[in-house]
Symmetry: D2
Subunit: 236 residues, 4 copies
């Protein structure tokens, strides 16, 4: 899996801070944008976020190029509706290189791994053979497995990214999309540290566990022994 | 494939007609709703639609129960972001009955069909075997094919339904999602005939072919020999 | 202010319960829809909501007819983007009856009330006079006050309605939109009691106060002396 | 009215072109992003748009700072739901400088202008006086006119911007929002000329007039004497 941040709003936190200030200031956006020191705008941003005024971070956008992920992952990912996706089409692109993803639980067991590899590779062979028999690519791909690699470009604003991270960094999330969420965060936090520094699953962000799972290692850390400050933020 | 309309806004066209009238009337919504004859509201609806004022049909909702479709289809379907989906989870549900979809192009060729059946069924066998080896259901399903059957409940308003139908009833759309679109229309048109009577691909609705394909049978019918009235409607 | 629930998904909680069950069951939606007792579906609904799986209530829709509210209110209301609005147009409708809203803080002070009434009524007079002078209705309305009455039809699904209620039932919300939220809840809870019974501001729903206002009467009730069960629900 | 483009996706058309190419190429997004010449990506972009594949331009974002516009305008603007807004609050900001907008039709008539000025200025006086009497700012503002100036920061992707421009550049659109649309286009076209070069009302873009108004000057130019190429593009 590879996740590349190929574009983002320049100086995203200054933009969001200016947006936060516009809401509560009698100054014009131009004055705010051109004459307010960045540190001051960051304080506006922090104040807005601490009161649950999350819409101000919608002005920060991130565009990720993602490859080496499975169709199992992307079918989940595209369920996040407040984002834009351009994905490699299995209708128009004939997959000549049979790339696929193998789950860690399969890798950990020699027999399972052999079985898995055979199953996936024979699916790719059937795909190739069906095309040779004249079946259109878009129909031959019905035999391809969920494991088949795909790639896409996804754009998302910081508010929705925070929401995605909250759902997908939870240890109950599916392992592959959790890995994607983790890599997205790793990239985005470099350019928007204030907005994303505290991103994480509900336990970390709100001191709560929607799964209500005391057996989870994060439960102990964030819910049972709730550290000072966790979950004190606004959250609407 | 089965498509069942399990719920919809009662008297949807009266609701949308009332919404259209509220925009341009000095009467209160209550007066409009309680005292305007339905035929009159339908005229308001028609007038709004003919001027491209499509938002008024957002007040009509349809909830479909869909089963016997492939994951190839649903991965496309859920790309329509202005709709709500509740889909059978391959993470939580162990598929014990190996249902799958076979494309018509495969069915039409004995060798292709045999190859296809073997490929898909051996994938389901590998899935079963991986689970027996202790691989979690959510990881075993990586070997399942796009062809695997799934089911879902989808809710969509009439404006977005018209948009989906425009994209998916085109003869260039993928066959399975075109079949779904056709069945959704068949169900919904019974309860919202005014809104949906003219639903169809861009050629039928607008007299244009975005694919610019003169070889398509609908091209001749709707674009070359454009019938009176086709494409005269507002379309923003 | 008048709020009328003019349409909604029939048996909304059965629909949402079926949606919840489809996600985790190997049965087809038709089997679930036709053969599962309602109480059983309600248990599925409850289980989904308690784990923060809120998307299942997107299948329940409500359409409200709202009148006698100010443009100050509607400018806020239409900021909720996951909803559909059809509002009386000040461009196309000439307001002949000068209806307007008066805030309670103004009503409570005789001098303020007189000043307010004069200001608003002279604005309506200027509006009328400008039209007589040949100014188009859509431009004459620039003199009309925020207080001017408007009416609209709004449709919203239960998930977004819960979100709107959370923001707008807070005692820090603006009084008029809080009143609207309260009336919407009053109407909707009659037909979807399971979904809406616990609707309320963040303090009631989550045991938290994004405004961090210990002076608020609800703070004492829900945050300081958090009752058993408050805020224990999933909340992503 | 002032419209400032304060942020946008760097090299937006290269990003959108790469997104277009990812859909139909067997190369990875990284290869596409790092090794494809920009002219080649622009050809992918052009091909996608000509087939009505508009989602690829969702990856280009624009953030505008807007000031000196009326609340009449912003109440319309925020109806565009696929965008992000941060607007000066009339609840939290006390308007000490009574800025307001005057429509051209009013400016063109001395008596109307005098009447308008008096009406608006006396509204601001009443606002000030109400606050002195102890009425909260958020309630005093009920007397403020639609004409009252406001400012905001708005972010929108190129697909929705094209949609907004189509609706709001029409000569039937309200004059002030048409002026805003025109200024947004003027700013954005500098940085995304390929995407926005042909932006315009439906007559210009599609060769159609949803208002069906042969009396409009653009009707003659774009609908009656439809120039070569107009309306030939895909349009779903």
């Amino acid at each position: 899996m590879e996740v590349l941040l190929i574009a983002y709003t320049p100086d995203p936190e200054r933009v969001c801070g200016a947006a936060a200030k516009v809401c509560v200031s009698s100054k014009s956006p131009r004055e705010i944008w051109e004459s307010t020191p960045k540190e001051s705008l960051l304080r506006n941003l922090g104040a807005a976020l601490s009161r649950g005024h999350e819409s101000v971070v919608e002005h920060a956008y991130f565009t990720f190029a993602v490859s080496g992920v499975s169709r199992a992952l992307t079918h989940q990912l595209v369920r996040h509706r407040i984002a834009s996706y351009s994905q490699q089409s299995q209708r128009y692109v004939k997959l000549t290189r049979p790339g696929y993803v193998t789950p860690p639980t399969v890798k950990g067991d020699a027999e399972a791994e052999r079985l898995y590899r055979e199953a996936v590779e024979s699916a790719f062979k059937a795909y190739k053979r069906l095309i040779e028999l004249g079946v259109p690519v878009e129909d031959a791909r019905y035999v391809l497995p969920n494991a088949a690699e795909t790639s896409l470009i996804v754009s998302v604003n910081a508010r929705e990214l925070l929401h995605i991270l909250e759902l997908r960094l939870c240890l109950h999330a599916q392992w592959e999309i959790r890995m994607l969420a983790s890599k997205m965060l790793q990239e985005a936090v470099k350019v928007a540290p204030e907005i994303l520094a505290n991103a994480g699953p509900p336990c970390k962000v709100r001191g709560r566990c929607p799964e209500n799972d005391p057996g989870c290692p994060l439960y102990a850390q964030y819910v049972r022994d709730k550290p000072e400050g966790v979950g004190d933020k606004g959250e609407t």
